[in-house]
Symmetry: C3
Subunit: 303 residues, 3 copies
Amino acid sequence: GRAEMGIFKNNAAFQAAKGNPVTEVGAQFFTDIDVTFTMSGETDNGLTFGASVDLDEGGNQAATKNNSDDGGATIFISGGFGTVTMGDTDGALDWALTDAGNVGNPGSLADDETTHAGYNGAYLDGGNDGQILRWDYTSGAFGVAVSLEDDNGSNAVNTGIGYAIGFKYALDLSGTTVNFGLGHQRAADGAPGTATDAKATGVSVSATFANGLAAGIEYTDMTNSVFDKHIGVGLGYTTGAFSIHANYGKYDGVVAANDQKGYGLAAAYDLGGGAVVHFGYGSGKVGAGVSQKSMSLGLGLSF
Amino acid sequence: GRAEMGIFKNNAAFQAAKGNPVTEVGAQFFTDIDVTFTMSGETDNGLTFGASVDLDEGGNQAATKNNSDDGGATIFISGGFGTVTMGDTDGALDWALTDAGNVGNPGSLADDETTHAGYNGAYLDGGNDGQILRWDYTSGAFGVAVSLEDDNGSNAVNTGIGYAIGFKYALDLSGTTVNFGLGHQRAADGAPGTATDAKATGVSVSATFANGLAAGIEYTDMTNSVFDKHIGVGLGYTTGAFSIHANYGKYDGVVAANDQKGYGLAAAYDLGGGAVVHFGYGSGKVGAGVSQKSMSLGLGLSF
Amino acid sequence: GRAEMGIFKNNAAFQAAKGNPVTEVGAQFFTDIDVTFTMSGETDNGLTFGASVDLDEGGNQAATKNNSDDGGATIFISGGFGTVTMGDTDGALDWALTDAGNVGNPGSLADDETTHAGYNGAYLDGGNDGQILRWDYTSGAFGVAVSLEDDNGSNAVNTGIGYAIGFKYALDLSGTTVNFGLGHQRAADGAPGTATDAKATGVSVSATFANGLAAGIEYTDMTNSVFDKHIGVGLGYTTGAFSIHANYGKYDGVVAANDQKGYGLAAAYDLGGGAVVHFGYGSGKVGAGVSQKSMSLGLGLSF
């Protein structure tokens, strides 16, 4: 489980972008709690399997009530053939790439550093309802994955499933591992679908060095989208109990009004035993709009 | 806990009958997850007690928020006097009878085999909100139960509580146990109630043979209902890791348009350790309507 | 966890006051279930921390989904500086005072004895959404607490945070401990706020005697409220497995129509092992209105 307490503060442009009351721009209390149920087992011939779901995905939520939506639950079975995962999991493109925010990022209470307007984290996952089936297989330094996102069995015109394929390679350069990722994805359609499905091709390179520094870059080219391409860079540094991270991202729109960019910062001090002091900040803007800013500060407790 | 992943497919008539989008008739992903919390204890003088509730009955659901509705929770206390159970439990008629789908049925992901139009599984339980109080007592081969379903304290005209009584007998015939069930039930009223409450009298006979075959039949006579009677038959067979089940059921309506019938199939292959491959199929029709069909296939994981 | 089963009965005036159907005035079944997840840990330098949340606060509830509302979750960190608690916790006035219903009260299924119109249990906590930050420190017989309830960062006119301060003292009188409590509170504002915030100042004295008797009295003076003052008295008695409690409370309104008064009774018989038979009764009235009555009887099971 995990619990977080602290304060957070958003500016009016951020509140408006998220659909929150724009009058609530002062610092306010932040509390969040997460209880995760993880289950696992093994078949007679040695396949391992498991599932996980959070407390907030119970009740009337889709994880437990709607079988055609994952609702946040993840289920897998694993063996010599690799691992098959179904539910709320990454598509193969997201699986292969290292996002800018995954480079030495200690996290924050409100995820400010990965929710700014320039951040790209899920690629084309979630084109329909995000219920994904992925096979992945790793052999030594090389990994491959293929994934499908369904269209809820729709027979409406132009509606189809989405797919992705991804590759990973870990190159050992005299003790430093450089991780390469490459993938391609076509988005799943909701109903009614579109004749020209959005597609994305992405590549990422990242590395963590012995001196505590981590660096990464990720580039995505998109077609049939309001965006032409996205670039993201991330840096992280850890020394003792202290960690800091920064990332920058930019979407080039097909027209200037669709441009989006932003940056995020996260810093953390580890008190040990699962208690960490977190600070997060994000700033982004859409087209010529006002900058959207958010901040959070407080204690993250892992159990 | 339990997790299920696979695919399912319904035809348009099934989708319409369940109120789902009739365009979603292709095969689609199926994920479901269930976390059950079971609690138990014992008093100083040896009474045992316990309760259980599922993750999906938490949140804003009635199990935890509405004290006048069970919401899926079950609570019991047990001793020399028998067992008193309150909540989401079977009425005494359902307790006594063995449904056609409970005869050697390995189950399926979407319960296709027990949700077709000809299936009778709950008798008159749920006339009000399904919050049931049942006392049952077993002595040797003989069992008896009495149950009440309340009317939420309503004083609206013609609204009253429901009751049921049931008997079980297990007859030993040279090593094979033949289970007999008999019971009678009056439905609880919602508000406003009806002057002529629905009633049901049912009987069932079932047996499991040494060669892995199981067979059962159940008959219910109804009054003050749109149905006159119901008959259900079930067969099951298990050999090694493989199990198969079939059932057929038919409601005779008081007019022909109320007739309902259908059949269900379930097959399973046990991988051991709680992992089972499941297939389920159901087909049923109401009056002269189009057949409603549903199918599911996948992996059921028990933890 | 905890489960409760039994019956309850409300009169029409009680049902109307709670917004329930006024026709549901007969005895009806009562079932409730509670699963609490408690987590704890310790930092490297010896601070302890923890969090708790209930199953009914999962799903789509605010504890897990809305970071600006506690939703029933509580999070704390504790060390030589005292304890800092955030979330669904008592404000410092409520922390300091012993309510009439906390004097030797064994509880009941429906909390009838502490929900009558004359009962004061939360003081001005919850003026906004009840998300409270409290620091408390105890040294020997003396305790102090300060708390804040936020206004969700609102910059609407007259909207402000609430605060409270409270003191406890435990006086040892030849073996009997007499507990004194004193505190002051200003209510938090929702949006839009009020220029004249409600305030309360309260004092309580309570003691538990060696013969099983407990007694307490609590007095609160209010300003900028529909009430002028409140007084509550509570008595409890325990002998062997049997406990009984009674309390009386009265609000003096600023006009007679705002007067509220009532009394509550609770009795319990402990079966051991966590199973307790409970009876509860409450009766109260608002102004010259009809008495609102409620009753519950049944089994409470703690696990």
